[in-house]
C-alpha cells in the first residue's frame, strides 16, 4: 500500500461517522441527486453505452443522448446547439477558451486581459501563453471583487486579442458588471475575443449569450449538482479557435476523446431541473444564505464577510474569514462535527498559499488564510443552517484557544 493511501485510510478511520452530516462544499464537488442518477444509470449498461461516433445501435443511442443534451444546454443559454462543445471538466473548457482563442487569433495581437480574481484554470493558461509571446494583464478589483471598468477601458487597444472576465466569482460570489465590460471592450476593439467563465453563474442567474454578447462561455456539470466528467464551452459561430488537444474519433471537433455519455446525460438532467426551478430555488437559497451570513456575523467576533452583500452576490455563496484561526484547521474541526466545507478554493488549499482572490480584494495574508466557503443548495434546510450556527462558534472558539496568533495578539495588547 502506498504511503498516501495508508495515510488517507488512517484519516478516515480516525474521523469516523459524525452523528449528523451536512455537505456545503459544492464549490469543489458534490453529491448527485437521485433523479439525476436515475437518468444516467441506463447509459452505463442498458442503452447508449456505445461510442457516439460509431455506426451501430448503441452508438446511435449514445449520439441521440449527446445531441439532446447539446440542444437543451444550448437553449438554456440562448445559443445554437452547434455552438456547444462538450469537454470533461470546466478546467478543460477554460483552457480551450484561453489557449485556443489566443493562438487562433495571435495575428490580431498578443495582449490578454483577465480579472485578478479569475479561477486558476483561466489565470494559469493565460500566464503560460507568455512562452508564445503573449502578455497577460490583470485588472484590479475593489473590496467587493468588482472589476474596475475604468482600468479595463484604459487597457483595451488594438493589441488586445482576448479578455476573460468571469460572470460570478467562484470564491466570494461577486456578480461582475459583465454587460458593461463587454460594451466597453466592443467599443474599443471589436476584434477582441471575449470569454466568460460562467461556471459559478449557470443555473443561479439567467444567462443569455445574445444579451451579454460574449464569444466564449464555460459551464460545468458538477457545479450544478450534476456528475463530474462533463462540462461545456459555448463557442459563438464565427469565433476563431484552435484545437489544443489532438486525437481521433469524436463528435466534438474541438475536443477529442470518448465523450462521457452518462455524465453528459446527467449534466442535461441536472441543468433541466435547476433551470426549470431557478426562480423559486434561488429565492429559497438566498434566504438560507442571508440567514447563515447574519447568524455567523452576529454570533462570532472577528468574522468578516468576503465579497458583497445582497443582489451583487450570487444566491448560494457564503465566504467568511475568521481572525486568529487557520482555515484548513477549521475545515477539519468542522468535518469532525459533520459539516463539510472548504477553505478558499481546492486549488489554493492544496498549495497552502492564501487565496489570490482574497488578497486581490485587499485582505491581509492572515485574513485570507482563515477563510471558509459554504455553497448552499435547494436541498439544504433551515435546520442545516441552525446546526452550523450551533457548531461553528464552538469550533472557532476551540481553535482560537489553541492559536499562537491569538497569544501574540494578547501579548501585543
Amino acid at each position: 500500500m502506498s504511503r498516501d493511501l495508508e495515510r488517507v485510510k488512517n484519516l478516515l478511520k480516525a474521523h469516523g461517522k459524525p452523528p449528523r452530516e451536512v455537505y456545503f462544499d459544492l464549490e469543489n464537488s458534490g453529491w448527485v441527486p437521485d433523479e439525476v442518477l436515475k437518468a444516467m444509470l441506463p447509459y452505463f449498461n442498458v442503452k447508449g453505452y456505445g461510442h457516439p461516433s460509431i455506426t451501430n445501435k448503441p452508438g446511435w443511442e449514445a449520439l441521440e443522448a449527446l445531441l439532446e443534451a447539446q440542444e437543451y444546454i444550448a437553449s438554456s443559454i440562448g445559443a445554437n446547439s452547434s455552438e456547444i462543445v462538450f469537454t470533461h471538466s470546466g478546467t478543460e473548457a477554460n483552457n480551450l477558451a484561453i489557449i485556443g482563442a489566443s493562438l487562433a487569433n495571435k495575428t490580431r495581437g498578443r495582449k490578454i486581459v483577465v480579472s485578478s480574481i479569475e479561477h486558476y484554470s483561466v489565470m494559469l493558461p493565460a500566464n503560460e501563453l507568455a512562452e508564445h509571446g503573449f502578455r497577460t494583464i490583470q485588472i484590479p478589483v475593489d473590496k467587493d471583487g468588482r472589476i474596475d471598468t475604468d482600468v479595463l477601458s484604459s487597457l483595451i487597444d488594438k493589441e488586445t486579442v482576448l479578455v476573460s472576465i468571469q460572470m460570478v466569482n467562484h470564491e466570494i460570489g461577486t456578480i461582475q458588471p459583465l454587460r458593461e465590460a463587454v460594451e466597453i471592450i466592443r467599443d474599443k476593439n471589436p476584434n477582441t475575443v471575449i470569454h466568460t467563465d460562467a461556471i459559478d453563474a449557470y443555473t443561479r442567474i439567467p444567462i443569455n449569450v445574445e444579451k451579454i454578447d460574449v464569444d466564449l462561455l464555460s459551464i460545468s456539470s458538477h457545479k450544478i449538482l450534476g456528475p463530474k466528467g462533463a462540462a461545456a464551452l459555448f463557442v459563438r459561430e464565427g469565433t476563431k479557435i484552435k484545437k489544443i488537444v489532438y486525437g481521433a474519433l469524436s463528435t466534438q471537433k474541438l475536443w477529442p476523446g470518448v465523450e462521457n455519455i452518462p455524465a453528459i446525460v446527467g449534466f442535461h438532467e441536472a441543468a433541466r431541473i435547476a433551470i426549470e426551478g431557478m426562480n423559486k430555488y434561488m429565492s429559497y437559497v438566498t434566504t438560507l444564505r442571508d440567514s447563515l451570513i447574519n447568524g455567523i456575523l452576529g454570533s462570532i467576533d472577528g468574522a468578516i464577510l468576503n465579497g458583497p452583500r445582497g443582489r451583487d452576490r450570487v444566491p448560494d455563496n457564503v465566504n467568511i474569514s475568521f481572525l486568529y484561526v487557520e482555515g484548513e484547521a477549521l475545515t477539519v474541526e468542522l468535518s469532525l462535527r459533520g459539516i463539510y466545507v472548504s477553505s478558499g478554493s481546492a486549488c489554493t488549499s492544496r498549495v497552502l498559499e492564501p487565496s489570490h482572490v482574497l488578497l486581490a480584494i485587499g485582505r491581509k495574508y492572515e485574513e485570507a488564510h482563515g477563510s471558509i466557503l459554504f455553497k448552499i443548495t435547494r436541498y439544504h434546510s433551515f435546520a442545516d443552517i441552525d446546526y452550523v450556527l450551533q457548531q461553528l462558534p464552538v469550533a472557532v472558539e476551540r481553535l482560537r484557544r489553541l492559536s499562537p496568533l491569538i497569544s501574540k495578539k494578547n501579548t501585543d495588547n
Partner: protein, 82 residues
Amino acid sequence: MEIIDLRRQPKGCTSHPLIRLKRFLENNDAEVMVITDPEIIPIKTIEIIARKYERMIETIDEINNTVTILITRRCQGIEQGS
C-alpha cells in the same frame, strides 16, 4: 523608495505587478516609482489607479518603450474627474 516594474510577467496569480501596485497604494502613504511599457500597460491606466487612491503621477523618464513614473504621496482635495 518602492519600485514596481509593470513590465514583469509573473508566473503566479498573486504577484501580478498591477495588483502589487494596488496593494501598495492601499496600505502605504509613501511615494512609489513605477516602470512601464506603455504599449502593454498605458500611462493612463496608472493614472486611473493612482487617482483612486488620491495620488498624482509625474513622468520622470521616457526612453524607447520604457517610461518611469513617480506616484506621489496621498494628496488632499483631488476632485473627481479633474
